[in-house]
Amino acid sequence: MSAFFIEGRDFELFVDAVIGARRVVGPVAKRTKFVYAELESAEELRLDFDVTILPPKKVFFPPSQDLVRFSDGVVGGCIDPVETVLLGVHFYDVKGIDMTDFLFRERNEDWNYLAQREATTIVASSIQSISPRAFWSSVGAEVEPQGHDAFLTKVNGGYLFETRTPKGEALLGYGSFREATDAEVGAAALANAAAMKQCPERLDYPSEAIAEKVRDSFGDVAMWDELAKDCFSCGSCNTVCPTCYCFDVRDAWNLDQASGTRTRYWDACLTREFATVTMAGGGTENFREHHSARFRHRFMRKAAYLNEKLGGPACTGCGRCSQACTADIADPVRVITHIMEVSS
C-alpha cells in the first residue's frame, strides 16, 4: 500500500473527524498510567503513551461479555459489533491481537470475539515513550505484526500514515493527507528503528531454544518452587497479558428474577481454583494445586506450548506482567534467562 503525510496541526482535525463518524478507541491518561478508552475528542488522545494497563484486546474480548441472554424460555445470542477505529496501537500489541485472532478462530470460530474484531480498523502507531520493563525488541523477533490497517509514525512535525489495507485507506478521506516524500518515509523508518534500540530489557536467546529448555525444565520442581515462592496467585500477570484468553462463564438473573444472562469473565490460570474440578465422586481435585505448578503453567503456555501454533512464543514483550506483579517475580526476561542459565 502507500505512505501519506499529515501535518501536526491537521492531525487533531483528522482524529476529530473520525470521531464524528465512528466510535474511536485510543490511549488516554488515567492518573499516572494510560488506558484505552473511547475518545470524545482528539485532545484526549495520548500517542506519547508508554504502555496501557490493559492491552487493546479488551475491545474485542472485554473483561466481561454477555454470550447468551434468556427470557421466558427464549434463549438468544447477543453478538452486536460496533464499527470502531482502534487508534494508537504499538507493534507489540498488534502482535498480541494477531495471536488472539488466531486463537479465537482456530478449530471453532468464536464470533463473540471475531465479529467485533472484523468491525474494527486498527491504526498502529510508533513508540514515542518506552515502558521501563519492555523487552519487545528481542522476544519473538521472528514474528512480524500483521493485523493492522495503517501505521502512524510521528516524524518531522507531523505523522507519516502508511496504509496497509483498504480499511486503512478508507480513513484518508477524513484528513488533509498528502503523499509522503521519500525523505519522510526514510525518517519514519529511522525513528522506528531508533525506538527498537532503546528497549530497556532483552531476552538474548532464540525462541526455539527457549521453548525447548523451558519445556525440559517442567520436572525441576525445586526451581519452580523457588521462582514462585513469593507468588500471591493473584492472577495480575494473566489479567494484563495481551495473549491470555482464558475465561470463566457464569449465569445470573436480572432484577426481574426471570430473565438473565450467561456471561464470560476473564479468568486467570494463576488463581487457585482455576484447574479445580468437581469429580464425579463428589470431591474436588485441583490439577494444579500448588502455586508453583500454576506459575510454571503460565511459562509453559507463554514460552513453549503455543509456539507451534503461533509461529513463536505467546509473548509480545510488552512488560505488563513485570509491572503488574507486586512481588516482582513475573518478569519473563528474568525467569526465562534464569532457566536458560541454570536449569540443567
Binding site: G76, L103, W111, N112, F247, D267
Partner: protein, 278 residues
C-alpha cells in the same frame, strides 16, 4: 434477541432439549432421555460430550450415554454434585434442558473395528462408555470379541440395572462385574476391577477403553502392560473442568492439550508424556 448475527453461529448458544423420560438409578444419579425441541436428530459419535445446562444456573460437561445408532433420542446420566447438576436433576419429564454439542473427539471407531474390544468402566465411568457399548451391540459383526468389565464401590452404586441384566444374558458381550465392598445381598465378584483380568484370556492385539476415576487407570494399565497390549491401543476418557467445550476457555488444559477438543478420549500413548494428565 437475534441469535445469529451476520450469519455466524454463536458457539455458546444452547439448543433446547425436551425431557422425554427420567429414571433414578441411585440416590444421587438421574438418567434422562432427551430429544431436541425442534425435532432434529442429534448427530454424534460415541465418547462425545454435551454441555448441559439450565439457564440461570450454568452448564456442565456430560458424556453422551446412548449410541447414535439408536436415533431420535439421546441419553445422559447426571450425578448431583454441585449447583448446576442439582438444578438439572430437579427437572422432570416435559421440562427442558439447554444443550450445546456434541463436542470433542470421541472414540476412534476405525481403530476399534475389526478387533477384540475390552471396555473397563469404573463407577460413573460406565455412562460415557454405554454409548460405545450400545454402538458395538448394534454393529456387532464389525468387531471381534467384545468384553465389558464394570466395577462399583458397592452394590447400591451400580448403574443401569436393566442393561446389566441384558448384558449378562446377551451372547454379544462377555460381561463381568465387581464391587469393592459387598453387602448381604451380593453374590457376585468382590474386589477391585483389576481382579476381573484373571477371569479372561486376552490377545495382545485387543483394543482397550478405560473410563473411571484416575486412581483406577494406574492399576488397569499395569495389567494391560503385563498382557503386552501396546499403549497406542489403549483409549482413556478423561474428566476435566470443561467450561466452554470448544477449546477456548482454558479450564480443561492438560499441559498443552485441551481435554474438550483434543479429547475427552485420548490414546494412552498420547497422554503418558503429559505430566498433568493423571
Amino acid at each position: 434477541m437475534s441469535c445469529e448475527h451476520h450469519g455466524h453461529d454463536n458457539l455458546f448458544l444452547p439448543r433446547e432439549a425436551r425431557i422425554l423420560h427420567t429414571h433414578r438409578p441411585t440416590a444421587s444419579e438421574k438418567h434422562f432421555t432427551l430429544q431436541l425441541a425442534d425435532g432434529a436428530p442429534l448427530e454424534f459419535a460415541p465418547g462425545q460430550i454435551l454441555e448441559v445446562g439450565v439457564m440461570g444456573y450454568g452448564e456442565i460437561p456430560i458424556g453422551l450415554a446412548s449410541s447414535p445408532t439408536r436415533t431420535g433420542t439421546f441419553d445422559i446420566v447426571v450425578r448431583t454434585v454441585g449447583r448446576v447438576s442439582t438444578a438439572i436433576n430437579e427437572k422432570e419429564v416435559g421440562d427442558s434442558l439447554w444443550i450445546r454439542g456434541p463436542l470433542g473427539h470421541g472414540f476412534d471407531l476405525d481403530s476399534l473395528k475389526g478387533h477384540d474390544v475390552l471396555i473397563v468402566a469404573g463407577g460413573i465411568g460406565l455412562c460415557p462408555t454405554r454409548s460405545l457399548i450400545q454402538y458395538i451391540e448394534d454393529r456387532r459383526d464389525e468387531f471381534g470379541r467384545f468384553l465389558l468389565f464394570y466395577g462399583a464401590r458397592d452394590p447400591l452404586q451400580l448403574l443401569f440395572t436393566e442393561d446389566r441384566l441384558h448384558w449378562r444374558a446377551s451372547g454379544d458381550v462377555e460381561y463381568f462385574e465387581t464391587v469393592d465392598r459387598a453387602d448381604a445381598s451380593w453374590t457376585g465378584n468382590v474386589g477391585v476391577i483389576t481382579t476381573l483380568f484373571k477371569k479372561v484370556q486376552l490377545l495382545p492385539e485387543t483394543r482397550v477403553v478405560i473410563c473411571g476415576p484416575p486412581i483406577m487407570f494406574e492399576f488397569v494399565i499395569k495389567e494391560l502392560d503385563r498382557l503386552g497390549i501396546v499403549r497406542e491401543n489403549i483409549f482413556v476418557d478423561l474428566e476435566r473442568r470443561m467450561k466452554c467445550g470448544v477449546g477456548k476457555c482454558g479450564h480443561c488444559q492438560i499441559n498443552d492439550k485441551y481435554c474438550c477438543i483434543d479429547g475427552p478420549v485420548f490414546t494412552f500413548s498420547e497422554i503418558q508424556e503429559l505430566e498433568e494428565a493423571i
